[in-house]
Amino acid sequence: MKTRLLMKSSHQSMNTTLRQALAKYTYVGYLAYKELLAYPASLLGRLAIHALRITYLGIIYEYVFTHSGKSAIHGMDALHAVWALALVQLVYQLTGSGRTFKHFKDEIISGQIEVRLNKPYYYPLQSLADALGQAPIRFVLFFAITALVLGSAFGMPTFTIQQKSLFLPLLSLGVLLFVLTQQLLSLSAFWIEDPTPAWWVLSKIAWIINGTFIPLAILPAYFKTASLLFPLSASFFLGRIYEITDWYSGAKFVGIQLLWILLIYTAIYFTYKQGAKKISINGG
């Protein structure tokens, strides 16, 4: 009886801790959301840039498909190519491209990370909540502008039931993976002077194999294989949604994203633990 009571009490206390943690990080996310709305001119500017970017990408792809005499490449036509590129851009816009990397790395390089250690939160989770807090509202706004711009200028593509069902999982997991990958790369600042050049190079290599400028569907098969092996391209599987023809191919994309998330979060946990030991606090 006593053991059961103890177990019940420990279970309740664990529930309370989890609830408190959830409330805490949700509040961090809420603050990030409020921050986004605090600067409407900036948000409008970003929306306008997104609209412009997908428009000129659309113009270029419509032009090359029309004038090259190719109605489709590997089954992908101009309309689907334009939408595939826009969906990759959507993943970038949901968290701000490279924002987490910059914040996290700056905290480490400037030594401000020591202040974070004293706060009643686990910094990688706080940073994650901060990055994801803006994602829902950004999704609504950026997806609306994408649909409006592309729908009116180039047309709306059709989605199969599998593609519709996997849209949100691929997007959410992609955004989560993108943020975690940025965190892991920024943690290298504990050991090297400035990891920014490494970030530039890796993120640009990702451009080639994640469909930022050329949809993966029209590239040779080895680019697609490479994209499965690189977390910075797995984050953008949403852009490959038109390659999903059945439940199996869709589940493969989601499964790979989940695997990367697990691996990268584990790596962050141990790297952060080791990195935090390197912090030396001066008396200033």
Partner: protein
């Protein structure tokens, strides 16, 4: 007349001294300088890989192929590299005005805009500058080098740098009318940089007009590439007129804005 010339000489000597001082900053942090410059070169080279693959699949875009993209990336990279490595301070006008940091420049006996622009440098932009110069050279070689083309390439490299700097100053000066608009200024700069790196030949009609005369995206890449390919006096005049217009517009907008600037209460030295 002699006094005027002496003043001009003094001014250039002062600018040269500022640049020398800024370059000493680069050499002070050698490892970071090399790492950031090489990183930026690799970063920009990724663009070329993307376009190589693109043109391998599609052939050409309205007469443009991979060799035109060499020139395009070259001019944009060089212009960005010069403007941001030497006059990076211009990208901080908005921030300085927001925090009242312009005060320290207002009391000095030199042109405020020049002082502000030369007040900071960006190490990584040297990578843009170096790769940009190499790509411009590669473009001139691929289209067939001649005295006219080499002269135009050198001239346009300078003009493109002025346009990038001029546009940066104009968008940064928005802060004098819209407070706390740093992100908006950065976004507007991206507004120009994004399309400038795309195959410009696909932009026709109204879009081409906007990207030439309102947002100078085509001016900093596509236009010089086309003029070097088919040199013409008309092209040279258009390019010169647009570059000068941006220089004057930048100075005018900044000076008008500066009249609205209210001093901060921060104490700083320079």
């Amino acid at each position: 007349m002699e006094g005027k010339l002496r003043n001009i000489n003094k001014k250039w000597a002062w600018i040269a001294e500022n640049l020398r001082f800024n370059f000493r900053v680069f050499t002070e942090y050698k490892a970071a300088f090399v790492l950031q410059s090489v990183g930026m070169i690799l970063n920009n080279a990724a663009f070329l890989v993307v376009w190589y693959i693109f043109f391998h699949i599609f052939g050409s875009v309205n007469g443009w192929g991979f060799k035109e993209m060499l020139g395009l990336d070259g001019f944009v990279g060089f212009g960005y590299g010069v403007a941001f490595s030497l006059t990076y301070g211009a990208t901080k006008i908005s921030k300085m005005a927001t925090f009242g940091l312009l005060d320290r420049f207002l009391t000095l006996p030199q042109n405020t805009l020049t002082m502000v622009s030369l007040s900071d440098v960006q190490m990584s932009a040297i990578g843009d500058l170096v790769l940009g110069a190499l790509l411009i050279g590669a473009y001139v070689v691929t289209v067939g080098p001649s005295f006219t083309r080499i002269a135009l390439a050198l001239l346009f490299a300078g003009m493109v740098s002025l346009v990038v700097l001029g546009f940066t100053i104009v968008v940064q000066s928005i802060v004098f009318w819209i407070p706390n608009s740093q992100e908006l200024s950065d976004a507007l700069f991206e507004f120009m940089l994004g399309p400038s790196l795309m195959p410009n030949s696909a932009f026709t009609g109204a879009m081409r007009f906007i990207f030439t005369f309102i947002i100078p995206a085509i001016v900093i890449g596509g236009l010089p590439v086309n003029i070097i390919l088919s040199p013409s006096i008309k092209g040279l005049i258009v390019m010169t007129a647009i570059s000068l217009a941006w220089v004057y517009l930048a100075q005018w907008v900044f000076n008008r804005g500066l009249r609205r600037y209210e001093s901060g209460n921060l104490v700083g030295t320079r």
